[in-house]
């Protein structure tokens, strides 16, 4: 059996993972780096991000303003020391990307251009047309090709963390091409595996967002923090769930119900200005409110019968006609392409049908502001991690910022740790891989399985999470979801694969992903059941108020024998005591 070893091993080749790899390669050229990804890095879901990345750049802006917007946007659940670090590091990260060739959109004089975004007091979102994630990812990937010290394992699927002597010492992974199991040893492992939108039935997320890294950490005894906070993006296309960027609203787009009314004015988000008013769109008002409030408004409108009915469910419309063709083609061309292709609407002529759709996980692997987890040698960054900078609700364009800042910080912490520990022993690696191979052969790959199918279990997991852990939740439905997921966990053990071949077995990969999805689902449901308050994107109809006295805390979900146990830890408050979230008025 071939073993491989690196100083730092990064799991996931998206924005956070590649940023971490470049950080190690540039600053520590003596260190060896492995980047392992179940897909080629250019396929990572960072590629689909559209609107932009936030960083303070205007002379009228300040780090404190960016921090306050983020903290109030998070409904005060964000750790303020981590937020302060993020807003401070952000402009340097964006400039670093620019120096690496990222085609940021520009002002006529050649300086970086910034656009308004939801929940932000003024423009600070850097953008590359409306393909910011695509350009960011390709810039990072192409830049990473400069470094000899980075070894990539493309299309390798990590099945387990290797933990010994109380620290993480590597991973076991399947080389998808051959089906062979290999150990990869490392002094430090950084998980950059992204979120888990695919645990819900209707999501902007691509197929690969199944929470694999979250499950790896969870199974190794690390807590998943704030899992109950799942972000619904207000504007996804009905049917496919394809994302229509918030930038469409940043440029002045409006949301309208079936009565032709800009309904957000009924939800304490301010008063609408005329679309031709030069001050439209107003920051932190109406369509530039935070995502949780906008998605909740959609559900209220739906229940009141003021949404349109369509073959793919109810929807409202996003009207950008008044922007004009030239502005649309320059600033948000992909919005037009997607609308034309997938719903047959040219937004220059007609409003776009949209609805709330699962988009982002605020929760994830519990880390500090250096990306370190409670397991020495294990780090995490990006959407799979929860620092927390996003708290109970993330502001748009903070995620691309987060992956760069914390990808780099986790890299620094990972190198520090690597300098203090010896490399893993070959016997450890070999025995871990052998035992993992055996585990798969006696479970998923056995031929006398119990007849359950991936498709059935997966669909039921998605359905029960949408029912119980959607935008509005209550105890009855959440408790039912928890029980259903426990049942699905048992049924998963009876999963039998139709395909037990070795070469590029995508059914096996889908089964492993489903296992991760179930773990993530149970963490979400149990954390949501335990939080008897409403905050940000977690809204309990049976506990509609925010309860700072009891719940100004992060939830921690620990894997248990059957159900997870939920613990809590304090939120770090530095300079902004918990207050009221105010939008639409000063």
């Amino acid at each position: 059996m071939e073993t491989f070893q690196h100083d730092v091993l990064i799991v996931g080749g998206g924005g956070a993972g590649l940023r971490a790899a470049i950080a190690v390669a540039e600053e520590h050229p003596d260190k060896t780096i492995g980047v392992i990804s179940k897909v080629y890095p250019m396929r990572s879901h960072t590629v689909s991000a559209e609107g932009g990345a936030a960083a303070v750049i205007s002379p009228t802006d300040s780090l404190d303003d960016h921090a306050y917007d983020t903290i109030s946007g998070s409904d005060w659940l964000a750790d303020q020391d981590a937020v302060e670090v993020m807003v401070e590091d952000a402009p340097g990260e964006m400039l670093r990307l620019e120096h690496w060739g990222c085609p940021w959109s520009r002002e006529p004089d050649g300086h970086i251009s910034v656009r308004p975004f939801g929940g932000m007091k003024l423009e600070r979102t850097w953008f590359a047309a409306d393909k910011t994630g695509f350009h960011l990812l390709h810039t990072l990937f192409q830049t990473s090709l400069k470094f000899d010290t980075i070894t990539r394992y493309d299309e390798w699927f990590v099945t387990r963390l290797i933990v010994e002597d109380g620290r993480c010492q590597g991973v076991t992974a399947i080389e998808i091409r051959s089906g062979d199991m290999h150990p990869i040893g490392a002094k430090s492992v950084i998980l950059c595996t992204g979120g888990a939108g695919r645990v819900y039935p209707f999501t902007t997320n691509g197929n690969i967002k199944t929470g694999d890294g979250m499950a790896l950490a969870y199974r190794a005894g690390v807590a998943l923090k704030d899992m109950e906070f799942v972000q619904y993006h207000p504007t996804g296309l009905p049917g496919t769930g394809i994302l229509i960027t918030e930038a469409a609203r940043g440029e002045g787009g409006i949301l309208v119900n079936n009565e032709g009314r800009r309904y957000l004015q009924d939800y304490d988000l301010g008063q609408p200005l005329d679309i031709n008013d030069p001050k439209h769109p107003q920051f932190r008002t109406m369509e530039l409110g935070p995502r949780d409030r906008l998605s909740q408004a959609f559900i209220h409108e739906q229940r009141a019968g003021r949404t349109f009915e369509g073959p793919d469910g109810d929807y409202v419309v996003l009207d950008i006609r008044h922007l004009g063709e030239r502005k649309i083609d320059r600033k948000i061309p992909m919005v037009r392409e997607l609308a034309v292709r997938y719903v047959g609407i040219d937004p220059v002529q007609e409003p776009i049908p949209v609805r709330a759709v699962v988009h982002y996980m605020m929760g994830g692997i519990d880390t500090d502001s250096h990306g370190a987890t409670s397991l020495p040698g294990l780090f995490a960054a990006g959407e799979c991690a929860c620092v927390s900078v996003n708290g109970a609700n993330r502001l748009g364009s903070n995620s691309l910022t987060e992956i760069l800042v914390f990808g780099a910080r986790a890299a620094t912490a990972a190198v520090d740790h690597a300098n203090q520990v010896p490399p893993p022993l070959d016997q450890l690696l070999e025995s871990a891989a052998r035992s993992e191979k055996g585990r798969l052969e006696t479970t998923l790959l056995r031929t006398d399985g119990g007849g359950e199918t991936i498709s059935a279990i997966r669909t039921q997991l998605q359905t029960t999470l949408e029912e119980g852990a959607g935008i509005f939740r209550d105890e009855t439905l959440l408790a039912r979801t928890c029980i259903r997921i426990a049942d699905l966990k048992k049924r998963y053990e009876k999963l039998s694969l139709a395909d037990t071949s070795r070469t590029f077995n995508t059914e096996l990969i889908a089964a492993l992903e489903l296992g991760a999805m179930i773990d993530v689902g149970e963490a979400i449901a149990h954390s949501a059941l335990a939080r008897t308050e409403s905050r940000g994107s977690h809204q309990r109809t049976d506990h509609p108020d925010r309860d700072d006295g009891v719940f100004l805390k992060h939830s921690l979900a620990y894997r248990g024998e059957s159900d997870p146990t939920i613990g809590y830890k304090e939120v770090t408050i530095t300079r902004w005591p918990a207050g009221e979230r105010v939008y639409g008025r000063d």
């Binding site: 091409r177 051959s178 070795r502 070469t503």
Partner: protein, 126 residues
């Protein structure tokens, strides 16, 4: 590791799609243009002496030669057309952040071609 499957391109690959076929015709026309240029040069060279020139003149006036020239003219014009269509790919002009219409570039080249050909024809006939 299991064996990968290779699917080599058949020799008739250019018959599979119209664009591939058109490409082959275009390449063929290059040969025709080249061949004609050789014929012309050889003819003029050998016409240094008057005896060879009248023989060349007889051949060139023969029906066979006229047919060959007609075919060559058609193919040469097709070749020229594809060449003109290519010009916007290398002549990329910008007015601020908008690209000058590629059809405009091709159009200018086409007009230039016609004007120059017309001038040459006038020179020869006059």
């Amino acid at each position: 590791m299991t064996k990968e499957l290779t699917r080599p391109l058949p020799r008739t690959w250019w018959l599979r799609k119209a664009p591939y076929f058109q490409f082959m015709i275009r390449e063929l026309t290059s040969l025709v243009v080249f061949a004609y240029a050789l014929v012309l040069i050889w003819g003029l060279w050998s016409a240094a002496g008057t005896g060879a020139f009248s023989g060349l003149h007889d051949f060139l006036s023969s029906p066979l030669s006229v047919w060959l020239h007609a075919v060559a003219l058609v193919l040469a014009l097709y070749h020229t057309g594809t060449w003109i269509a290519l010009t916007p790919k290398v002549i990329v002009l910008w007015r601020d952040d908008e690209q000058v219409d590629p059809d405009f570039i091709a159009g200018v080249n086409a007009i230039l071609f016609l004007v120059l050909s017309g001038a040459l024809l006038w020179l020869v006939l006059a």
